[in-house]
């Protein structure tokens, strides 16, 4: 049987802390050399009071709430280094911004070769014999696992797998790499977060790739 095909991929990064949605707007991004002027002037911008701001760039969507900042590539690019640069750039420009948690999600939607393969994945993740006599035709809706971080930071690595009707037979996988930023008394927490993200980004990406490819090999082979 053929290997699963990647239908689409995206990266979503969420930072928790304290942000000002009004500051982060397209011209501010280009003024600080984070995006080209041409992209900034063509960007969609939406703002709701002081609570919410959304900027839509050709390659990502940046959403800022007061308590979080979120960048989502929305399947538009596959080189997440641009997301890293934008995030690290914003944090460096606002070094005193409180940032407490970083959550990096690598997501993929995969098409499996056959429906049999798809069923086999469900059976391996969630054996059905436990449900005999409990549910009629039990089927796995959603599956999540968590593992400890290898780097000693407070947080976890979580993996979520679900069927997805957008493609059939399809699987959605999300690898979530989440950690709290150390030393909450740092006077420049965002600057420190920027350094940590820049340093660990490639490792996080490689870990997500490894998790996905290993799981698929074990589930599908």
């Amino acid at each position: 049987m053929a290997a699963p095909i990647i239908h689409s991929q995206s990266v979503v990064v969420v930072l928790l802390g304290s942000f000002n949605p009004r500051i982060v707007e397209p011209l501010w991004l280009s003024k600080h050399s984070l995006v080209p002027e041409e992209e900034a002037s063509g960007a969609e911008r939406e703002m709701i009071d002081r609570d919410f701001s959304r900027i839509v760039l050709p390659w990502a969507e940046l959403v800022v709430f007061q308590e979080r900042l979120q960048i989502d590539t929305r399947e538009k690019i596959t080189n997440a280094a641009q997301v890293r640069d934008l995030l690290v750039g914003i944090l460096r420009i606002l070094p005193h911004t409180p940032v407490t948690v970083a959550s990096i999600n690598h997501r993929a939607l995969l098409r499996l070769d056959t429906e049999e393969q798809w069923h086999e994945v469900g059976h391996r993740l969630a054996p059905k014999d436990v449900w005999d006599g409990v549910l009629d035709k039990p089927g796995m809706l959603d599956f999540a696992m968590q593992g400890v971080r290898p780097d000693g930071l407070d947080g976890a690595i979580k993996v979520r797998i679900r069927p997805n009707p957008l493609v059939h037979p399809g699987l959605f996988i999300n690898v979530n790499d989440e950690f709290s930023l150390p030393d909450q008394n740092d006077p420049e927490p965002a600057a420190r977060a920027a350094g940590l993200l820049a340093k660990s980004w490639s490792e996080i990406e490689a870990r997500a790739d490894h998790i996905c490819s290993t799981l698929l090999k074990r589930l599908v082979d």
Binding site: H7, S8, Q9, V12, V14, L16, S33, L34, V35, E39, E44, E46, D51, F52, E61, Q70, D72, R74, E75, K76, I77, T78, N79, A81, Q82, V88, G89, R92, I93, P95, S103, N105, L109, W118, H119, V121, H123, K128, P138, G139, M140, A144, D154, G155, A156, K158, R162, P163, N164, P165, L166, V167, F172, N174, N176, E178, S180, A191, S202, A206
Partner: protein
């Protein structure tokens, strides 16, 4: 059956793009579902063994999206890029109409290469960044209209953009350099 079929009563209304309101407030729908729109998406399961609450990817709930918002959503969700190969590149030399760069395979599965590329391969807004030492990302892949539409091979080079050094960052680097010199007895 290994996987559950979508529950009855799930409204799949692609044209309106309305938020799905369910009797169960815990129920969430991911944007990967056929109905375009945004939804809360729980990630992981809370674990009493660590203090970190799961972080959700979320949007504000609205009953009716604006027309502009619908247009933006449709545009964003119509196509995808599948990467076949990704490199990080650093410019080594700039010539009249071309430049030479070192390519480093992001996956680490291939050896480094040195290539000469025409400046024409670059987006106009990246030309101003072309100089020795500049970093760029080169992705080769397919752009595909979702869900089963036209597929086009694509090569995309994008230069890294980082903000300028701040005075405090440089001051911190100077302190580290001074400390290193003191340590070494220089």
């Amino acid at each position: 059956m290994a996987f559950a079929a979508p529950a009855k009563g799930l409204r799949a209304d692609a044209s309106a793009g309305n938020e799905l309101v369910s009797a169960n407030p815990e129920f969430t729908r991911d944007r990967w579902d056929p109905v375009p729109g945004y939804a809360d998406d729980e990630l992981g399961v809370s674990n009493p063994q660590h203090n970190l609450a799961p972080v959700e990817i979320k949007e504000p709930i609205r009953l009716l999206p604006t027309a502009r918002e619908l247009e933006v959503r449709r545009k964003l969700e119509k196509e995808t890029l599948i990467a076949l190969q990704k490199w990080d590149g650093v410019v080594l030399d700039v010539r009249e109409t071309s430049f030479v760069a070192r390519l480093v395979d992001v996956s680490g599965n291939h050896s480094d290469e040195e290539v000469e590329l025409e400046k024409d391969e670059l987006s106009p807004f990246d030309l101003e960044l072309l100089e020795p030492g500049a970093i760029f990302y080169w992705t080769i892949g397919y752009r595909q209209l979702l869900p089963m539409g036209e597929r086009v091979r694509e090569s995309r080079i994008r230069f890294q953009r980082l903000p300028a050094w701040s005075a405090s960052e440089i001051a911190a680097a100077r302190e580290r350099a001074d400390a290193a010199a003191r340590e070494l007895g220089w």
